[in-house]
């Protein structure tokens, strides 16, 4: 690591996240004065106002320039989506985990300017106004979460188009689309015109921002005493004049271009899962090869530029979240997830020199942002996997590993072309997408064990006594396990109906009131269709509902099937009585269900077949339902931190879990339920039909001793390859002992830099809630035998 990178990295680590009112103020001022405009034009001019007026921040020594806010970790707010109340600001300022500092002046501006204007006009309020009573009841009960209630849809990743086209080229495309509009036969021509004009304004605005950076660089160069830095600043100015207006011509320009685009996307709105460059090694490789060949670039320079680029991501915390959204995604990480390796569009091995360079950067930077993963195809060399395993061994949870061949298969099943599939990858935590061409929206987590709890109470939520489900029958009258499963399916249908109805409304609200003309420039085929990204402009439009707690519900069903119906050791009434008492006074029964039941994660078909039945039921209920953008709903199996929130609203479960404690996470077994080592876990998990999901998340925890030797490392690589042979989608590893984690809990001051794998991302252990810390400690630790 060069001295420059060391300093910038340290600055980034030391910077304290705080709320910058800059954007909120500019947006408010614009809206106060805006005239009679179509919605897309209003959004475009808002974007233009920000690009023209935001503070320009160029930090000492940096090579890639541009901050979202006025300083590193100065975090914007988006009052048109969610206007924080003064109480929200106080909570953000003072909460123990994931705080954002709020200056008195910011609070004053909110009180006097921002809140008075936005109250009653935000998307968030509109969403809650439009939701039905049964939606609200289910939401409050913790049946599901709603991603879009304080963040915009987003959830997309860029492909290679910006490395071929400048904004001026995009403007030419936009103009061609405008010219082709058929006002005589196309009833939507006017809407398209407004959307395309809006895109055009945004394309110009991002160029304006770059020119402002160019001017700033020149201004600094004029004052700079150090001749080396002076010349760097002059080069930066040149680059910012050239990109994003034009296609990049070298490695440095390629990175800088992407970064401006990134800033544009995360400033326009606060879309979920901050945008990301996707298959960065593929995109950069031609520039790298050209630079090395003509002598204009060395490997070390390329590495330094990449490292400067990495720091930029770390400087942008996820927008501040409150309420349930803060609980389901409690982290500063915004899930930009860089993909390495995989396949090329023609199906050949995608691993190249830049792939290894990126892995080196990940290893040295050791930052929670950006997140990173490898896309492992059977065509990729073992050397690539081994290199990634060597980083994983260091124990901070990156990179995670994806099955590139399975990702392609998933995309093909969804009807994507083979090229679009091979150019795709995974983003966020584990979500599969056709990069640059798909809007793949996560709509919210779905609490499978809670739906089962409501089934066991014939539609009533035992936590509140409210009837929020349907009459699915008194479980004490069920004569067979199948009757119980049928009742569960009916409850699930009821809640999925509610969820999907809600999302189809929310989707329209974003389409009508909150288009994203800047993002629409970047995703095919918005320009050709003259349609906004939020309105179905993308080539592919998928909505996901993410199932949580498959391990917990499987073990709960297994306990009932085994002890109530098969062995008849327990009656349903006895079990329900024990659950109502949270097993207090029923410890022996708890141990019976805990220790004497076939459990998911042990390669035992008794339990694993139940997991498959739950999966099928969830899949059949969701998959193929229509959204409002010409696409369909599909399922994902991932939790972020939602298994903790969902657990906190779910009473004791028949698998022996105590009330209000975390559910199982991702598709991992219940914490401690897997007793036959990692191969058994992988076998169980692979019995799920991953290809019919848009992503599954499997966590594994190893003691460092198990990976100490070369042989240990080989075996880790073999485990991964074998899991992928069986059709697994993703696996990630924590390599840390429970003892270390307990020590970190007791002495957080000594472990400030301890990073662990949470769900589809890594985070500082000390930033996690105590419950989540405990949950990670409780995950089964595979040891050396």
């Amino acid at each position: 690591m060069t001295k420059r990178v060391k300093i910038l990295r340290q600055q980034s680590l030391n910077a304290v996240p705080y709320i910058s009112p800059e954007r909120a103020l500019l947006v408010t001022q614009f809206y106060q004065e805006a005239g009679f405009l179509s919605v897309p034009m209003k959004r475009a001019l808002t974007f233009k106002t920000i690009m023209e007026n935001k503070a320009i921040c160029l930090n000492d020594g940096e090579l890639i320039v541009g901050e979202r806010g006025p300083a590193p970790k100065a975090t914007y707010t988006y009052p048109e989506i969610c206007c924080h109340s003064l109480e929200d600001l106080d909570i953000l300022n003072s909460r123990e985990k994931i705080p954002f500092k709020v200056e008195a002046e910011t609070r004053r501006l909110y009180r006097e300017v921002i809140i008075p204007f936005w109250q009653g006009k935000t998307i968030r309020e509109k969403i809650f106004d439009e939701m039905t009573d049964e939606w609200k009841a289910a939401y409050q009960a913790g049946i599901f979460t709603e991603f879009m209630e304080q963040r915009a849809p987003g959830h997309t990743v860029l492909d290679d188009k910006i490395y071929r086209k400048g904004m001026l080229d995009f403007i030419r495309d936009i103009d061609a689309s405008l010219k082709a509009l058929d006002y005589h036969n196309d009833a939507e021509a006017y809407y398209k015109q407004e959307e395309l004009k809006a895109m055009r304004i945004c394309a110009e605005a991002i160029v304006t921002l770059a020119h402002r950076y160019a001017n700033k660089a020149l201004e600094l160069a004029a004052q700079e005493k150090d001749t080396v830095r002076k010349s760097e600043l002059e080069t930066i100015a040149q680059i910012c004049r050239h990109v994003p207006a034009h296609a990049p011509e070298n490695f440095w320009e390629a990175l800088q271009y992407y970064w401006f685009v990134h800033l544009g996307v995360i400033t326009e709105l606060n879309p979920w899962d901050s945008f990301n460059p996707g298959r960065l090694d593929q995109h950069l490789y031609p520039f790298y090869r050209k630079g090395i060949a003509d002598g204009s670039l060395t490997r070390e320079q390329a590495k330094e530029l990449l490292q400067c680029f990495w720091i930029k991501f770390n400087n942008q915390p996820a927008p501040p979240k409150v309420g349930v959204t803060a609980a389901e995604s409690s982290t500063y990480t915004d899930f930009a997830n860089i993909n390495s390796g995989g396949l090329r569009a023609d199906g050949s091995d995608g691993v190249n020199e830049v792939t290894y360079l990126v892995l080196e950067v990940i290893d040295e930077m050791r930052l929670v942002q950006p997140s990173s993963n490898i896309q492992l195809s059977r065509k990729n060399p073992d050397e690539f996997l081994k290199r990634a395993c060597k980083i994983i061994r260091k124990g901070w949870g990156q990179p995670s590993i994806f099955n590139a061949d399975m990702v392609v298969e998933e995309l093909l099943r969804q009807g994507k072309s083979i090229e679009d599939a091979r150019n795709g990858g995974t983003s966020g935590c584990v979500e599969t997408g056709a990069f640059g061409k798909e809007s793949y929206i996560l709509t919210g987590y779905f609490n499978l064990p809670k739906v089962f709890e409501i089934t066991l109470h014939n539609g009533i939520d035992p936590r509140t006594g409210r009837k929020i489900g349907i009459d699915s029958g008194d479980p004490e009258t069920f004569r067979t396990f199948d009757e119980l499963m049928e009742a569960f399916k009916r409850q699930m249908k009821h809640f999925i109906d509610i969820k999907v109805r809600g999302n189809n409304v929310i989707e329209r609200l974003y389409a009508e009131y909150m288009p994203v003309p800047f993002l629409s420039i970047l995703i095919d085929d918005c320009i050709v269709k003259g349609k906004d990204y939020n309105d179905g402009g993308a080539r592919y439009n998928t909505n996901y509902i993410q199932g949580v707690g498959i391990g917990s519900i499987t073990d709960s069903l297994a306990a009932i099937k085994y002890h109530v119906f098969d062995e008849k050791k327990l009656s349903m009434r006895e079990l329900l009585t024990a659950l109502a008492a949270n097993f207090e006074g029923y410890e022996k029964m708890r141990l019976l269900v805990l220790n004497r039941t076939p459990k998911y994660g042990n390669d035992d078909d008794y339990a694993d077949n139940i997991m498959r039945a739950v999966f099928e039921a969830f899949y059949n209920e969701v998959n193929g339902r229509k959204n409002t953008k010409g696409g369909v709903y599909r399922i994902d199996m991932l939790p972020t931190t939602c298994h903790v929130y969902f657990g906190s609203v779910t009473g004791a479960t028949p698998d022996g879990r105590k009330a209000w404690t975390p559910l199982s996470e991702g598709i991992s077994p219940v914490q401690g339920a897997d007793r036959h080592g990692p191969t058994a876990v992988l076998k169980s998990a692979a019995k799920m039909d991953h290809v019919r999901t848009g992503g599954t998340l499997l966590n594994q925890k190893f003691t460092p001793q198990l990976l100490e030797t070369e042989k240990g490392l080989d075996n880790l690589a073999h485990l991964v390859r074998a899991y992928f042979t069986l059709g697994g989608h993703h696996v990630q590893f924590n390599v840390v002992t429970a003892q270390t984690l307990r020590d970190a809990q007791a002495h957080p001051e000594q472990y400030r830099d301890l990073i662990v794998r949470v769900a589809g991302y890594s985070d500082y252990f000390c930033d996690l809630s105590k419950t989540l810390q405990d949950e990670i400690i409780a995950r089964t630790e595979h040891q050396s035998f």
Partner: protein, 300 residues
């Protein structure tokens, strides 16, 4: 065919190449004082009692018809000599304080377990390892398993003390891809003192395996004060080198983890207190052995 198995461990990564499943046979002709698997020694079933898990509910006491559980001021004490291993107490102990060591299994049952991880064996160049106890003590059962593995193309390793008749060794060896062969002490008297048996047969059998051109890795459990002296190390190295075609020794340093197991079985730990070998002494021993054989590995 049936055999007595006390454990089947998946993802066993220290008993031969790749990812393996290790099948532990119950029963051993040796009585090594350092044995870290005391539940492997006796051929028949035994009850393991983990008092720390005991809820003191007394259910075991109520179902025991043989007076093998006695109530003693709130605690339930296991009277091992009265126990007939009927397993009734285990059936009712949901806290898993009581557990049966040893299970009669058929060839098919064991093969079903082994077959579960074939995809991992194939990927990693792993397979199955038969260990114990002494797997050759149940040689007919072992042979049926080995033959089944050969039919399925599964790589086989046998972890043995070598204390077995040459005829039996000859019978099974064609089905064994790799022997993990324990050499403990070269001095005959000390071998007898610490393991309960002489070492002549052990050394002769290793010579035979070498003559039959079998793949062998010699394993040396290293017990400070027992066999870590320079003399024994040098003799071991020189004996292995004299065989000509065995070029790999694995050193298995002594560790304490067996102590707890003795307590759970109600057994006294035979070896006086010994500290695990220091990294310096391990280094010295590795270097010493490297003078005789090509590959010396610490751990399995």
């Amino acid at each position: 065919m049936k055999g007595m198995i006390f454990n089947i461990m998946r993802y066993a990564v220290h008993d031969g190449p790749g990812i393996r499943t290790t099948v532990f046979f119950k029963g051993c002709p040796l009585r090594c004082q350092w044995c870290h698997n005391p539940e492997s020694i006796i051929r028949h079933q035994e009850i393991i009692f983990r008092e720390e898990r005991c809820l003191r509910c007394g259910d075991c006491f109520s179902v025991c018809r043989n007076g093998a559980i006695r109530r003693e001021d709130g605690r339930f004490v296991y009277v091992r000599e009265n126990c007939i291993q009927c397993g009734n107490c285990i059936e009712v102990c949901y806290a898993e304080a009581r557990e049966m060591a040893g299970r009669e299994m058929t060839t098919e049952e064991v093969m079903a377990e082994i077959s579960k991880d074939v995809v991992f064996f194939d990927q990693s160049g792993g397979g199955v390892t038969f260990s114990g106890g002494e797997p050759l003590l149940q040689h007919e059962f072992l042979l049926s398993l080995l033959q089944s593995c050969k039919q399925k193309g599964i790589h086989t390793a046998v972890d043995t003390s070598g204390y077995v008749s040459p005829e039996i060794l000859g019978q099974i060896s064609p089905c064994v891809d790799l022997f993990l062969y324990d050499i403990k002490i070269l001095d005959e008297a000390r071998h007898r003192q610490f393991t309960g048996v002489p070492n002549r047969l052990v050394l002769d059998n290793l010579r035979r395996l070498s003559q039959w051109q079998k793949n062998v890795i010699v394993r040396l459990p290293l017990i400070p004060g027992v066999n870590d002296d320079q003399e024994n190390i040098r003799q071991t190295g020189s004996f292995v080198a004299s065989l000509g075609n065995i070029d790999e020794i694995h050193i298995l340093p002594y560790h304490h983890t067996g102590l707890e197991k003795y307590r759970r079985l109600g057994l006294a730990y035979p070896l006086p207190e010994v500290a695990p070998p220091s990294p310096e002494s391990l280094d010295r021993i590795v270097n010493e052995l490297k003078r005789f054989v090509k590959t010396v590995v610490l751990g399995g």
